[in-house]
Protein backbone atom coordinates (compact mmCIF):
# COMPACT_ATOMS: atom_id res chain seq x y z
CA UNK A 1 0.00 0.00 0.00
CA UNK A 2 2.70 2.46 1.10
CA UNK A 3 5.22 1.83 -1.67
CA UNK A 4 2.69 1.77 -4.53
CA UNK A 5 1.10 4.94 -3.14
CA UNK A 6 4.45 6.74 -2.98
CA UNK A 7 5.20 5.75 -6.60
CA UNK A 8 1.92 7.32 -7.74
CA UNK A 9 2.56 10.40 -5.60
CA UNK A 10 5.99 10.81 -7.23
CA UNK A 11 4.33 10.69 -10.64
CA UNK A 12 1.73 13.26 -9.57
CA UNK A 13 4.48 15.75 -8.66
CA UNK A 14 6.12 15.40 -12.09
CA UNK A 15 2.69 15.53 -13.74
CA UNK A 16 1.93 18.79 -11.90
CA UNK A 17 5.26 20.26 -13.02
CA UNK A 18 4.23 19.50 -16.61
CA UNK A 19 0.75 20.96 -16.14
CA UNK A 20 2.12 24.23 -14.80
CA UNK A 21 3.99 24.71 -18.09
CA UNK A 22 0.52 25.61 -19.39
CA UNK A 23 1.14 29.10 -18.04
CA UNK A 24 4.18 29.48 -20.30
CA UNK A 25 1.87 29.41 -23.32
CA UNK A 26 0.97 27.07 -26.17
CA UNK A 27 4.45 26.70 -27.67
CA UNK A 28 6.25 25.68 -24.47
CA UNK A 29 3.38 23.43 -23.31
CA UNK A 30 2.98 21.60 -26.60
CA UNK A 31 6.76 21.42 -27.03
CA UNK A 32 7.09 19.77 -23.63
CA UNK A 33 4.31 17.26 -24.33
CA UNK A 34 4.94 16.52 -28.01
CA UNK A 35 8.75 16.80 -28.09
CA UNK A 36 10.47 16.72 -24.67
CA UNK A 37 8.53 13.88 -23.04
CA UNK A 38 8.61 11.37 -25.93
CA UNK A 39 12.37 11.95 -26.22
CA UNK A 40 13.13 11.31 -22.56
CA UNK A 41 16.42 9.33 -22.36
CA UNK A 42 16.56 9.28 -26.17
CA UNK A 43 18.65 7.73 -27.79
CA UNK A 44 19.25 5.32 -24.91
CA UNK A 45 15.56 4.45 -25.04
CA UNK A 46 13.50 4.45 -28.24
CA UNK A 47 11.17 7.38 -28.86
CA UNK A 48 8.32 7.23 -26.33
CA UNK A 49 10.05 4.33 -24.54
CA UNK A 50 10.44 6.10 -21.21
CA UNK A 51 6.75 7.04 -21.28
CA UNK A 52 5.75 3.41 -21.78
CA UNK A 53 7.96 2.32 -18.88
CA UNK A 54 6.24 4.93 -16.70
CA UNK A 55 2.80 3.86 -17.90
CA UNK A 56 3.45 0.18 -17.11
CA UNK A 57 4.92 1.09 -13.71
CA UNK A 58 1.90 3.26 -12.88
CA UNK A 59 -0.61 0.59 -13.91
CA UNK A 60 1.27 -1.95 -11.79
CA UNK A 61 1.30 0.45 -8.83
CA UNK A 62 -2.43 1.10 -9.27
CA UNK A 63 -3.25 -2.62 -9.42
CA UNK A 64 -1.14 -3.39 -6.33
CA UNK A 65 -2.66 -0.41 -4.48
CA UNK A 66 -6.24 -1.44 -5.33
CA UNK A 67 -5.60 -5.09 -4.49
CA UNK A 68 -4.05 -4.15 -1.13
CA UNK A 69 -6.96 -1.80 -0.42
CA UNK A 70 -9.62 -4.43 -1.11
CA UNK A 71 -7.76 -7.03 1.01
CA UNK A 72 -7.38 -4.54 3.86
CA UNK A 73 -11.01 -3.50 3.61
CA UNK A 74 -12.31 -7.07 3.83
CA UNK A 75 -9.97 -7.93 6.67
CA UNK A 76 -10.76 -4.80 8.68
CA UNK A 77 -14.48 -5.19 8.24
CA UNK A 78 -14.31 -8.66 9.76
CA UNK A 79 -11.95 -7.45 12.51
CA UNK A 80 -14.15 -4.57 13.66
CA UNK A 81 -16.75 -7.00 15.06
CA UNK A 82 -19.98 -5.62 13.59
CA UNK A 83 -23.23 -6.67 15.24
CA UNK A 84 -26.36 -6.27 13.16
CA UNK A 85 -24.62 -3.98 10.64
CA UNK A 86 -23.28 -1.67 13.33
CA UNK A 87 -20.18 -1.71 15.47
CA UNK A 88 -21.37 0.42 18.39
CA UNK A 89 -25.08 1.01 18.77
CA UNK A 90 -24.69 4.35 20.50
CA UNK A 91 -25.25 7.47 18.45
CA UNK A 92 -22.70 9.47 20.47
CA UNK A 93 -19.10 10.16 19.41
CA UNK A 94 -19.50 8.66 15.96
CA UNK A 95 -16.08 9.90 14.96
CA UNK A 96 -14.17 8.77 18.02
CA UNK A 97 -11.58 10.90 19.75
CA UNK A 98 -9.52 12.54 17.02
CA UNK A 99 -10.12 10.78 13.72
CA UNK A 100 -9.62 13.10 10.78
CA UNK A 101 -12.12 13.27 7.93
CA UNK A 102 -9.53 12.15 5.42
CA UNK A 103 -8.45 9.12 7.43
CA UNK A 104 -11.84 7.45 7.44
CA UNK A 105 -12.72 8.38 3.87
CA UNK A 106 -9.64 6.71 2.36
CA UNK A 107 -11.57 3.87 0.75
CA UNK A 108 -14.37 5.92 -0.83
CA UNK A 109 -11.92 8.65 -1.74
CA UNK A 110 -9.91 5.96 -3.46
CA UNK A 111 -12.96 4.73 -5.40
CA UNK A 112 -13.73 8.31 -6.52
CA UNK A 113 -10.10 8.68 -7.59
CA UNK A 114 -10.20 5.44 -9.55
CA UNK A 115 -13.26 6.61 -11.51
CA UNK A 116 -11.68 10.02 -11.97
CA UNK A 117 -8.46 8.52 -13.34
CA UNK A 118 -10.38 6.44 -15.89
CA UNK A 119 -12.40 9.47 -17.00
CA UNK A 120 -9.32 11.70 -17.02
CA UNK A 121 -7.23 9.32 -19.15
CA UNK A 122 -10.17 8.85 -21.53
CA UNK A 123 -10.52 12.63 -21.85
CA UNK A 124 -6.87 13.52 -22.29
CA UNK A 125 -5.17 10.62 -24.05
CA UNK A 126 -7.08 9.98 -27.32
CA UNK A 127 -8.00 12.85 -29.57
CA UNK A 128 -11.55 11.65 -30.22
CA UNK A 129 -13.16 11.90 -26.80
CA UNK A 130 -12.43 15.54 -26.21
CA UNK A 131 -15.19 17.57 -24.60
CA UNK A 132 -15.20 21.03 -26.13
CA UNK A 133 -13.52 19.93 -29.36
CA UNK A 134 -10.59 17.81 -30.57
CA UNK A 135 -7.30 19.31 -31.73
CA UNK A 136 -3.76 18.16 -32.56
CA UNK A 137 -2.49 20.66 -30.01
CA UNK A 138 -2.88 19.37 -26.46
CA UNK A 139 -2.85 22.98 -25.32
CA UNK A 140 -5.99 23.67 -27.35
CA UNK A 141 -7.65 20.52 -26.05
CA UNK A 142 -6.99 21.60 -22.48
CA UNK A 143 -8.47 25.05 -23.18
CA UNK A 144 -11.48 23.61 -25.09
CA UNK A 145 -12.26 21.16 -22.28
CA UNK A 146 -11.87 23.54 -19.38
CA UNK A 147 -14.07 26.20 -20.95
CA UNK A 148 -16.96 23.87 -20.07
CA UNK A 149 -18.14 24.35 -16.50
CA UNK A 150 -19.06 20.71 -15.93
CA UNK A 151 -15.62 19.48 -16.98
CA UNK A 152 -14.05 21.86 -14.47
CA UNK A 153 -16.53 20.73 -11.81
CA UNK A 154 -15.71 17.03 -12.29
CA UNK A 155 -12.00 17.84 -12.36
CA UNK A 156 -12.31 19.83 -9.14
CA UNK A 157 -14.13 16.96 -7.39
CA UNK A 158 -11.34 14.61 -8.46
CA UNK A 159 -8.59 16.96 -7.27
CA UNK A 160 -10.22 17.63 -3.91
CA UNK A 161 -10.45 13.84 -3.49
CA UNK A 162 -6.73 13.61 -4.30
CA UNK A 163 -6.04 16.23 -1.63
CA UNK A 164 -7.97 14.41 1.11
CA UNK A 165 -6.48 11.07 0.06
CA UNK A 166 -2.93 12.42 0.27
CA UNK A 167 -3.46 14.36 3.49
CA UNK A 168 -3.81 11.03 5.27
CA UNK A 169 -2.09 8.79 2.72
CA UNK A 170 1.37 10.37 2.71
CA UNK A 171 1.54 10.38 6.51
CA UNK A 172 0.25 6.81 6.61
CA UNK A 173 2.77 5.56 4.04
CA UNK A 174 5.68 7.05 5.96
CA UNK A 175 4.42 5.62 9.24
CA UNK A 176 4.06 2.19 7.68
CA UNK A 177 7.65 2.49 6.49
CA UNK A 178 8.66 3.25 10.07
CA UNK A 179 9.29 6.99 9.84
CA UNK A 180 6.96 8.41 12.50
CA UNK A 181 8.84 9.42 15.65
CA UNK A 182 6.02 11.36 17.29
CA UNK A 183 3.96 10.04 20.18
CA UNK A 184 0.69 11.36 18.73
CA UNK A 185 -0.89 11.62 15.31
CA UNK A 186 -1.29 15.40 15.47
CA UNK A 187 2.12 16.09 16.95
CA UNK A 188 4.01 14.56 14.05
CA UNK A 189 5.73 16.86 11.60
CA UNK A 190 4.72 14.40 8.86
CA UNK A 191 1.08 15.30 9.54
CA UNK A 192 1.82 18.94 8.68
CA UNK A 193 3.99 18.00 5.71
CA UNK A 194 1.23 15.72 4.37
CA UNK A 195 -1.37 18.47 4.60
CA UNK A 196 1.01 20.94 2.91
CA UNK A 197 1.80 18.46 0.15
CA UNK A 198 -1.89 17.65 -0.39
CA UNK A 199 -2.70 21.36 -0.59
CA UNK A 200 0.18 21.98 -3.01
CA UNK A 201 -0.97 19.22 -5.35
CA UNK A 202 -4.64 20.18 -5.29
CA UNK A 203 -3.95 23.90 -5.81
CA UNK A 204 -1.25 23.23 -8.41
CA UNK A 205 -3.46 21.07 -10.58
CA UNK A 206 -6.61 23.10 -10.10
CA UNK A 207 -4.90 26.35 -11.10
CA UNK A 208 -4.99 25.41 -14.81
CA UNK A 209 -8.76 24.75 -15.23
CA UNK A 210 -9.61 27.70 -12.97
CA UNK A 211 -7.37 29.97 -15.02
CA UNK A 212 -9.12 28.82 -18.20
CA UNK A 213 -12.70 29.00 -16.92
CA UNK A 214 -12.56 32.08 -14.73
CA UNK A 215 -9.73 34.17 -16.20
CA UNK A 216 -9.98 33.16 -19.86
CA UNK A 217 -6.41 31.87 -20.07
CA UNK A 218 -5.44 30.49 -23.46
CA UNK A 219 -8.37 31.92 -25.45
Amino acid sequence: MAVSGLIMLGYLLVHMYGNLKFFQGREKFDGYLHETLPHMFYPYLPEGGALWIIRVLLILALVVHAYAASTLWRRNKAAAGYVGGKRYHTTQHKTGNQRSYSSFKMLWGGVILFLFIIGHVAQMMPNWLSPGGASDSKYDRVVNGFELWWVVLLYTIGLVAVGFHLAHGFWSALTTLGQNRSSTRRGSRWTLISIALATLITVGFISVPFAVLFFGAGS
Partner: protein, 248 residues
Protein backbone atom coordinates in the same frame (compact mmCIF):
# COMPACT_ATOMS: atom_id res chain seq x y z
CA UNK B 1 -28.01 12.78 40.00
CA UNK B 2 -30.43 10.74 37.92
CA UNK B 3 -29.28 8.95 34.82
CA UNK B 4 -30.60 6.66 32.12
CA UNK B 5 -28.39 3.74 31.16
CA UNK B 6 -28.60 1.82 27.91
CA UNK B 7 -26.60 -1.35 28.42
CA UNK B 8 -25.72 -4.15 25.99
CA UNK B 9 -27.31 -7.35 27.34
CA UNK B 10 -26.30 -10.68 25.82
CA UNK B 11 -26.95 -13.97 27.65
CA UNK B 12 -24.04 -15.86 26.12
CA UNK B 13 -21.75 -16.03 23.09
CA UNK B 14 -24.54 -17.42 20.88
CA UNK B 15 -27.22 -14.94 21.94
CA UNK B 16 -27.96 -12.07 19.56
CA UNK B 17 -27.90 -9.42 22.27
CA UNK B 18 -29.56 -5.99 22.45
CA UNK B 19 -29.44 -2.64 24.20
CA UNK B 20 -31.62 -2.56 27.35
CA UNK B 21 -32.62 0.70 29.08
CA UNK B 22 -32.44 1.16 32.88
CA UNK B 23 -33.20 4.23 34.96
CA UNK B 24 -31.02 4.91 37.99
CA UNK B 25 -31.83 7.55 40.63
CA UNK B 26 -29.81 9.31 43.32
CA UNK B 27 -26.44 8.44 41.86
CA UNK B 28 -23.60 10.09 43.79
CA UNK B 29 -21.21 12.13 41.66
CA UNK B 30 -18.35 10.67 43.72
CA UNK B 31 -19.09 7.11 42.61
CA UNK B 32 -16.82 5.48 40.12
CA UNK B 33 -18.50 4.17 36.99
CA UNK B 34 -18.09 0.59 38.25
CA UNK B 35 -19.62 1.46 41.63
CA UNK B 36 -22.60 2.88 39.78
CA UNK B 37 -22.90 -0.45 37.90
CA UNK B 38 -22.65 -2.26 41.27
CA UNK B 39 -25.60 -0.23 42.57
CA UNK B 40 -27.59 -1.03 39.45
CA UNK B 41 -26.74 -4.72 39.80
CA UNK B 42 -27.90 -4.72 43.44
CA UNK B 43 -31.24 -3.31 42.33
CA UNK B 44 -31.50 -5.80 39.47
CA UNK B 45 -30.71 -8.70 41.81
CA UNK B 46 -33.28 -7.53 44.40
CA UNK B 47 -35.94 -7.31 41.73
CA UNK B 48 -35.11 -10.82 40.55
CA UNK B 49 -33.33 -9.81 37.31
CA UNK B 50 -30.00 -11.10 36.08
CA UNK B 51 -27.20 -8.64 37.06
CA UNK B 52 -25.07 -7.13 34.30
CA UNK B 53 -21.83 -9.06 33.81
CA UNK B 54 -18.73 -6.86 33.50
CA UNK B 55 -15.02 -7.47 34.01
CA UNK B 56 -13.23 -5.76 36.89
CA UNK B 57 -10.44 -6.58 39.27
CA UNK B 58 -8.05 -4.10 40.87
CA UNK B 59 -10.27 -1.01 40.54
CA UNK B 60 -7.18 1.18 40.75
CA UNK B 61 -6.38 1.52 37.06
CA UNK B 62 -3.55 -0.97 36.68
CA UNK B 63 -5.02 -4.38 35.84
CA UNK B 64 -6.73 -3.58 32.54
CA UNK B 65 -9.84 -5.71 33.19
CA UNK B 66 -12.61 -3.13 33.26
CA UNK B 67 -12.84 -2.23 29.59
CA UNK B 68 -16.21 -1.11 28.27
CA UNK B 69 -17.22 1.35 25.58
CA UNK B 70 -19.13 4.27 27.11
CA UNK B 71 -20.99 6.60 24.74
CA UNK B 72 -18.93 5.27 21.84
CA UNK B 73 -15.56 5.92 23.49
CA UNK B 74 -13.33 3.21 24.92
CA UNK B 75 -13.31 3.68 28.74
CA UNK B 76 -15.63 6.67 28.33
CA UNK B 77 -15.15 10.43 28.09
CA UNK B 78 -11.94 10.57 30.13
CA UNK B 79 -8.65 9.06 29.05
CA UNK B 80 -8.47 6.60 31.95
CA UNK B 81 -9.65 3.11 32.79
CA UNK B 82 -13.37 2.68 33.48
CA UNK B 83 -12.75 2.13 37.21
CA UNK B 84 -11.02 5.53 37.40
CA UNK B 85 -13.91 7.27 35.66
CA UNK B 86 -16.30 9.01 38.03
CA UNK B 87 -19.95 9.91 37.66
CA UNK B 88 -19.07 13.61 37.98
CA UNK B 89 -17.89 13.33 34.37
CA UNK B 90 -21.55 13.04 33.35
CA UNK B 91 -24.39 15.52 33.50
CA UNK B 92 -27.51 15.05 35.57
CA UNK B 93 -30.14 13.38 33.39
CA UNK B 94 -27.57 12.00 30.98
CA UNK B 95 -28.30 9.01 28.76
CA UNK B 96 -25.24 6.77 28.98
CA UNK B 97 -24.67 3.95 26.47
CA UNK B 98 -22.52 1.05 27.70
CA UNK B 99 -21.30 -1.57 25.25
CA UNK B 100 -18.60 -4.25 25.23
CA UNK B 101 -15.34 -3.93 23.25
CA UNK B 102 -16.21 -4.75 19.65
CA UNK B 103 -13.68 -6.75 17.68
CA UNK B 104 -13.65 -10.00 15.76
CA UNK B 105 -10.74 -11.12 17.94
CA UNK B 106 -12.63 -10.25 21.17
CA UNK B 107 -15.78 -12.41 21.13
CA UNK B 108 -18.45 -11.41 23.65
CA UNK B 109 -18.76 -13.93 26.50
CA UNK B 110 -21.69 -12.32 28.29
CA UNK B 111 -23.12 -8.78 28.47
CA UNK B 112 -20.06 -6.51 28.71
CA UNK B 113 -17.48 -9.29 29.16
CA UNK B 114 -15.29 -10.17 26.17
CA UNK B 115 -12.65 -12.87 25.74
CA UNK B 116 -9.26 -11.17 25.42
CA UNK B 117 -7.34 -14.46 25.12
CA UNK B 118 -6.10 -13.36 21.70
CA UNK B 119 -3.83 -10.82 23.47
CA UNK B 120 -2.33 -13.61 25.58
CA UNK B 121 -1.59 -15.65 22.48
CA UNK B 122 0.16 -12.65 20.87
CA UNK B 123 2.39 -12.45 23.97
CA UNK B 124 3.03 -16.20 23.77
CA UNK B 125 4.20 -15.74 20.18
CA UNK B 126 7.19 -13.62 21.22
CA UNK B 127 6.42 -11.09 23.94
CA UNK B 128 9.04 -12.45 26.32
CA UNK B 129 12.79 -12.88 26.75
CA UNK B 130 14.53 -16.20 27.34
CA UNK B 131 16.75 -15.55 30.34
CA UNK B 132 18.37 -17.93 32.79
CA UNK B 133 16.47 -17.98 36.06
CA UNK B 134 18.06 -17.15 39.37
CA UNK B 135 18.26 -14.18 41.64
CA UNK B 136 17.91 -10.71 40.18
CA UNK B 137 21.18 -9.52 38.57
CA UNK B 138 23.06 -6.46 39.77
CA UNK B 139 21.12 -3.45 38.47
CA UNK B 140 24.08 -1.68 36.87
CA UNK B 141 25.66 -4.69 35.16
CA UNK B 142 24.01 -3.84 31.86
CA UNK B 143 24.05 -0.11 31.16
CA UNK B 144 20.92 1.19 29.37
CA UNK B 145 20.84 4.77 28.02
CA UNK B 146 18.35 6.93 29.93
CA UNK B 147 16.36 7.73 26.78
CA UNK B 148 15.94 4.06 25.90
CA UNK B 149 15.04 3.16 29.46
CA UNK B 150 12.37 5.90 29.53
CA UNK B 151 10.94 4.83 26.17
CA UNK B 152 10.91 1.16 27.14
CA UNK B 153 9.19 2.03 30.39
CA UNK B 154 6.51 4.10 28.64
CA UNK B 155 5.66 1.11 26.48
CA UNK B 156 5.90 -1.36 29.35
CA UNK B 157 3.10 0.60 31.02
CA UNK B 158 0.62 -1.13 28.67
CA UNK B 159 -1.95 -2.98 30.80
CA UNK B 160 -3.38 -4.98 27.89
CA UNK B 161 -6.91 -3.63 28.39
CA UNK B 162 -7.76 -3.65 24.68
CA UNK B 163 -9.00 -0.05 24.42
CA UNK B 164 -6.76 0.41 21.36
CA UNK B 165 -8.62 -2.36 19.53
CA UNK B 166 -12.03 -1.12 20.65
CA UNK B 167 -11.22 2.44 19.51
CA UNK B 168 -9.55 1.46 16.24
CA UNK B 169 -12.03 1.68 13.33
CA UNK B 170 -10.20 -1.33 11.84
CA UNK B 171 -10.20 -3.44 15.01
CA UNK B 172 -6.42 -3.59 14.84
CA UNK B 173 -4.27 -4.60 17.80
CA UNK B 174 -1.15 -2.92 16.47
CA UNK B 175 -0.63 -0.51 19.38
CA UNK B 176 -0.71 -3.38 21.90
CA UNK B 177 1.69 -5.47 19.80
CA UNK B 178 3.93 -2.47 19.12
CA UNK B 179 4.09 -1.61 22.84
CA UNK B 180 5.56 -5.04 23.59
CA UNK B 181 7.97 -4.86 20.64
CA UNK B 182 9.19 -1.44 21.79
CA UNK B 183 9.41 -2.39 25.44
CA UNK B 184 11.62 -5.43 24.81
CA UNK B 185 13.37 -4.19 21.66
CA UNK B 186 14.88 -1.16 23.39
CA UNK B 187 16.52 -3.16 26.17
CA UNK B 188 19.69 -5.27 25.85
CA UNK B 189 17.90 -8.33 27.21
CA UNK B 190 15.48 -8.20 24.29
CA UNK B 191 18.06 -8.22 21.50
CA UNK B 192 18.70 -11.97 20.89
CA UNK B 193 15.05 -12.64 19.99
CA UNK B 194 14.30 -9.27 18.42
CA UNK B 195 13.72 -10.49 14.84
CA UNK B 196 11.81 -13.66 15.66
CA UNK B 197 9.74 -11.70 18.19
CA UNK B 198 8.39 -9.14 15.74
CA UNK B 199 7.65 -11.73 13.07
CA UNK B 200 6.01 -14.15 15.50
CA UNK B 201 3.88 -11.51 17.20
CA UNK B 202 2.70 -9.86 13.98
CA UNK B 203 1.85 -13.26 12.49
CA UNK B 204 -0.15 -14.19 15.59
CA UNK B 205 -1.84 -10.75 15.58
CA UNK B 206 -3.03 -11.32 12.01
CA UNK B 207 -3.92 -14.94 12.69
CA UNK B 208 -6.20 -13.92 15.58
CA UNK B 209 -8.28 -11.83 13.19
CA UNK B 210 -7.21 -8.34 14.25
CA UNK B 211 -7.42 -5.74 11.49
CA UNK B 212 -4.62 -3.98 9.64
CA UNK B 213 -3.28 -0.64 10.86
CA UNK B 214 -4.08 2.40 8.70
CA UNK B 215 -2.29 4.87 10.99
CA UNK B 216 -5.35 6.79 12.13
CA UNK B 217 -4.02 7.20 15.68
CA UNK B 218 -7.33 6.57 17.47
CA UNK B 219 -5.58 3.91 19.60
CA UNK B 220 -3.12 6.31 21.21
CA UNK B 221 -5.87 8.86 21.81
CA UNK B 222 -7.94 6.26 23.68
CA UNK B 223 -5.09 4.53 25.55
CA UNK B 224 -5.46 4.96 29.35
CA UNK B 225 -1.71 4.52 29.72
CA UNK B 226 -0.74 6.87 26.89
CA UNK B 227 1.25 4.35 24.84
CA UNK B 228 2.86 6.56 22.18
CA UNK B 229 1.99 6.16 18.50
CA UNK B 230 5.62 6.00 17.36
CA UNK B 231 5.80 2.48 18.80
CA UNK B 232 3.92 1.38 15.67
CA UNK B 233 6.57 2.89 13.42
CA UNK B 234 9.21 1.18 15.57
CA UNK B 235 7.41 -2.14 15.07
CA UNK B 236 7.35 -1.51 11.32
CA UNK B 237 11.07 -0.71 11.29
CA UNK B 238 11.83 -3.91 13.19
CA UNK B 239 9.54 -5.89 10.90
CA UNK B 240 11.09 -4.48 7.71
CA UNK B 241 14.56 -5.15 9.15
CA UNK B 242 13.71 -8.75 10.07
CA UNK B 243 12.11 -9.40 6.68
CA UNK B 244 15.12 -7.89 4.89
CA UNK B 245 17.31 -10.38 6.74
CA UNK B 246 15.06 -13.16 5.47
CA UNK B 247 13.88 -14.16 8.95
CA UNK B 248 10.26 -14.81 7.97
Amino acid sequence: MNITLRVWRQKNADDKGKMVTYGLEDVSTDMSFLEMLDVLNEQLTLSGDEPIAFDHDCREGICGSCGVVINGLAHGPQVSTTCQLHMRSFEDGAVIDVEPWRAGAFPVVKDLVVDRGSFDRIIQAGGFISAPTGSAPEANNLPVPKKDADHAFESAACIGCGACVAACPNGSGMLFTAAKITHLGLLPQGQPERDSRVIGMVEQHDHEGFGGCTNIGECTAACPKGIPLDTISRLNRDLLGALAKGKA
